[in-house]
């Protein structure tokens, strides 16, 4: 950055001006100094004042949180806020319950739901045909049949119901906000909404759950509410962005025709932003699906439940089948919304024979209605016949896992031990086994080295918060896992990102894989990792790496590709080698993307380190899970949730401060590239 500030042109013959700043150590050297001193202090004080507390012990603050929960529950009948949230939650439960009785569970006195599997499949297929064409209809039909064949019909329907209800409310709440964000001429509105959305997106999914359980109880209502909250930001941000970015020339030209502001919105802004709005809707649906699976932790109905209970039992085969169905559902929803937007584009352009289309839809609608009638009449068409597909597949997976782990135990153990012995353990020992004040000071100094003064205040507040909530030791372990995971993510991101940016063929091949990777709910990643590495913290780290890698790789690839071709050409003309080109031009010039990728990687890995709490990752994630399962540990779980947020905010702020030269701003012109890459 300093290179762009040109010094005043020296007078002819005058002495060259002296360097304007005294030479100082670069940032990384300072960081090494801090870490060196830290290691020395650690060697002397290791194991003292680590603030480690046993599993079932809680601090006073945590007890106060539990007491607070108890008082909220006790005031349930008098406190108007709780009454409101409970009645809202009850209403959500009723909606979900009604839908369940329609398609997923027996509607007493009927032994089966109102509409049986054949009817539901037929209707869904018909909807696929109507919005997106026959290919998507086939995909939808096959997906629905697979839900039944593998024996998870009702869980699949429940997941769809929760997702659908949450998405409907997300759109109802989100679209007006998006219009406000997109059309407001007041800068503070834009920056206020953006800041709120940033905070929401920094929070790991898990953290919503505990307070929501407090105010909405567990079950369907909590599942809908947390899914709704998690799914809301994408539609607001993406749709708002689309509306805001409608060509100002067109707005001006149509204003000049004398339109009212409502006509402007309805006839110009919304239609022109339609494509972006659909992208936002797609992201909202995918976010909703991923949260709806995690809502299994709060007893939310759906496919997350069998996955979760199998994970608790380390039953890889049992987790694999519902996990696979979640992926099937994700692919189905993603493809359908994308294809629907393309199809509506074609229809709007008059490339579709409307008459033929109407006839086809009418005929197939009759077919679907017949299927519905049949599914209400014949029991075998109402209740999916039992098959052995699910258990068989689970058995194969178990066999395969066993064979694989036996055969490759050497390789996986070598990798696990390599990372554990040389990276994870030493780092964890340094961070978690130093006295807490030593670690805190070191973190603070590093924050200052990288982020200067602007990183200090948030870091101090977050560290103080971590100390206050009494889970310092667990927090440091989670922080270690996050840092190691992020390091691995960044290695992947730089290698593959640069490769993709330099070779179009690689990009063409990898990008669809990465896109697909981003649509899979994070939960599902745990299953194969559990198979490979067993229940250890390593499982969570690798799952986190796999979860975070697509985003980070895409960010780096787009950043490197964004380097001006003229600069590259210039460097090539001076005879730079490929390596020099990468290290001296492409990577430095895409620094902001690298920082952003690291930032996103940290947040994603953190989220996974927490979700992985119950498959051996321990630390804060385990505390949260414990908070769900044991009433008296609620306070500790809540403290763990808050600690997770504090860690997330801390690393986020330090990263941003470090990158503030090319700050990640609310400048709408800078937003799209990385937001698009994030898929959020």
């Amino acid at each position: 950055m300093t290179a762009t500030i040109a010094p005043p042109r020296p007078q002819a013959g005058a002495e060259p001006p002296p360097p304007s700043e005294p030479r100082s150590l670069p940032r990384w050297a300072w960081a090494l100094v801090v870490i060196g001193v830290w290691i020395v202090v650690w060697a002397l004080t290791k194991g003292t004042d680590t603030l480690e507390i046993p599993v079932r012990v809680h601090t006073e603050v945590q007890q106060q949180l539990t007491d607070f929960r108890d008082s909220v529950l006790a005031s349930r009948d008098t406190n108007p806020l709780i009454q409101f949230t409970y009645s809202l939650g009850g209403w959500f439960t009723d909606v979900v319950d009604w839908a369940q009785r329609m398609i997923s569970i027996p509607d007493f006195p009927r032994p089966v739901p109102q509409i049986g599997w054949l009817g539901v499949t037929a209707i869904a297929t018909w909807i696929g045909l109507a919005v997106a064409g026959w290919r998507i209809a086939l995909l939808v039909g096959a997906s629905f049949v697979s839900f039944g064949l593998f024996g998870y019909w009702s869980d699949s329907m429940d997941l769809l119901i929760v997702t659908f209800v949450a998405v409907v409310f997300s759109v109802l709440i989100g679209m007006p906000l998006a219009v406000w964000l997109g059309t407001s001429r007041r800068p503070w509105v834009v920056s206020m909404i953006n800041t709120l959305l940033d905070i929401f997106q920094t929070m790991p999914t898990f953290v919503y759950l505990l307070p929501i359980v407090l105010f909405f109880g567990i079950g369907a209502s909590a599942a809908v509410v947390c899914t709704l909250i998690y799914a809301l930001p994408p539609i607001i941000r993406v749709a708002g962005h689309g509306i805001r970015n409608v060509s100002p020339t067109t707005i001006e030209a149509t204003d000049a025709a004398g339109q009212t502001s409502f006509q402007r919105l309805r006839k110009v802004q919304l239609p022109m932003a339609r494509k972006t709005i659909v992208v936002g809707l797609n992201q909202t649906i995918m976010a909703a699906l991923s949260m709806a699976t995690i809502a299994a932790y709060v007893d939310g109905p759906g496919l997350g439940k069998p996955v979760l209970s199998a994970l608790f039992k380390n039953d890889v085969g049992g987790a694999f089948v519902p996990g696979m169905l979640i992926v099937v559902m994700a692919v189905m929803l993603d493809r359908t919304t994308t294809a629907a937007s393309e199809a509506s584009e074609r229809a709007a352009r008059g490339q579709v024979d409307l008459r033929l289309r109407r006839i086809v839809l009418a005929v197939t609608a009759v077919g679907a209605l017949v299927a519905v009638w049949a599914s209400r009449t014949y029991i075998s068409l109402a209740e999916f016949p039992e098959t052995s597909w699910g258990p068989t597949l689970a058995g194969w997976v178990d066999d395969f896992t066993e064979w694989f782990t036996d055969t490759f135990r050497g390789a996986t153990d070598w990798f696990k031990n390599l990372i554990s012995d040389y990276l994870l353990n030493p780092l964890q020992s340094l961070i978690a086994e130093s006295p807490w004040y030593v670690t805190a000071t070191a973190i603070l100094l590093l924050a200052f080295v990288f982020g200067r003064a602007r990183a200090l205040l948030p870091t101090v507040i977050c560290l103080a918060g971590l100390r206050y909530f009494g889970l310092w030791h667990d927090s440091m372990i989670t922080l270690t896992m996050t840092l190691v995971g992020t390091l691995l993510v960044m290695i992947l991101a730089v290698v593959f990102g640069v490769w993709m940016a330099r070779r179009a063929s690689v990009d063409l091949m990898l990008r669809p894989v990465l896109d697909a990777g981003q649509t899979i709910p994070p939960f599902v990643y745990l299953i194969p990792m559990l198979a490979l590495f067993g229940p250890t913290r390593f499982t969570a780290i690798v799952a986190g790496v796999v979860y975070a890698a697509p985003v980070a790789i895409k960010l780096v690839a787009d950043g490197v590709r964004g380097v001006s071709p003229t600069t590259l050409e210039a460097s090539r003309s001076t005879g730079a080698t490929t390596w020099q080109e990468i290290t001296k031009v492409q990577l430095p010039m895409s620094r902001s993307s690298l920082v952003l990728a690291a930032n996103q990687g940290l947040l994603y890995v953190l989220a996974m380190a927490v979700i992985g709490g119950m498959v051996g990752a321990g630390a804060l994630g385990y505390d949260v899970v414990l908070g769900f399962s044991r009433s008296e540990e609620w306070g500790k779980g809540a403290a763990a949730g808050i600690s997770i947020v504090l860690i997330g905010i801390m690393v986020d702020r330090i990263c941003r401060a470090a990158a503030h030269d090319e700050a990640v701003t609310h400048d709408a012109t800078r937003r799209p590239r990385w937001r698009a890459a994030l898929g959020g």
Binding site: S247, T249, I251, A253, T254, D255, A256, A257, G258, R274
Partner: protein, 354 residues
Amino acid sequence: MNERSERTVQNGDAALSVKNLWKIFGRGADRIVGTPDAELSRAELKEKSGCVVGVRDVSFEVAPGEVFVVMGLSGSGKSTLVRCLTRLIEPTSGEIVVDGHDVVSASEAELRELRRTHASMVFQHFGLLPHRQVIDNVAYGLEVRGVGKKERRAKAEEIVGLVGLSGYERSYPDQLSGGMQQRVGLARALASDPSLLLFDEPFSALDPLIRRDMQNEVIRLHRELGKTMVFITHDLQEALKLGDRILIMRDGAVVQIGTPDEVVGAPADDYVKDFTSEVPRSHVLTLKWVMRDPRPGDSTDGPVMSSDTVVRRAAQAALASEHPVRVVDDGQLVGIVDDDAILRVVVAEEEVSA
């Protein structure tokens, strides 16, 4: 006011009249006009208050049916000026009257009415709606006015034919070339049958050949429809070709208002002179600018021409005759043009272009 405009605009019947129009961008801009600060140059005012002058005390009148060209380099405030005319940009102070309607004090609803029926605009980057067919783009102005679908489509169809786009009614803007897209923009402006057409550098984004076609199209439409036009451009050739009168702007202020031959023949200052130095003068100047007063001994056998004959047109006849041209207006001999005078214009031009 320029003497010329008094000739073209009789009191009160102007299609558009602008008086003391100011546009200053920035915080507290409305407190600057009328204070000594307003006299500061652009840079000084920016330094002092952070405000930027877009349009500085501009006044002019446009007669019905006139083509009035506003020309200046980029940043001279011409696009701001034309946007102020229908308040797409809110003017800071001044008076604008279109067809007898006061624009500045109009309410939101009155302003919409004005935009819907009295003044339409054509934009540099077209500003078409990509999700609508040509016909619905053209009909947009009628649609927001509340005209029924059948009626507005019929009207749009007619206008599409008028601008030479018949057969493309069902196309989408991105299927058309730049020139054709601008024809759509032109048709959209014409569809609501306004009395005043505003053009904001409409052909700057087009290829030179297409630009020439479009200029001729505007000339044709003007001849057929007789609309009043305000035309913004940074291209002097275009200004001279289209304009009945030309307003030259610099730094938001008016430098000169005059007919093409006045601007070329009697530039108001060095800025305008510099501007017009490369213009082929013989194409613009009329005999009025090269004639001398008649002397008693002049030959009376030369060809007779009026004083507003362009030099280039006069040249052949003048040079073919052995006698000097006699310039006669209303039966009155007003001047004599020697071969020398004509050659001076033509040769000077060769030197400039060499």
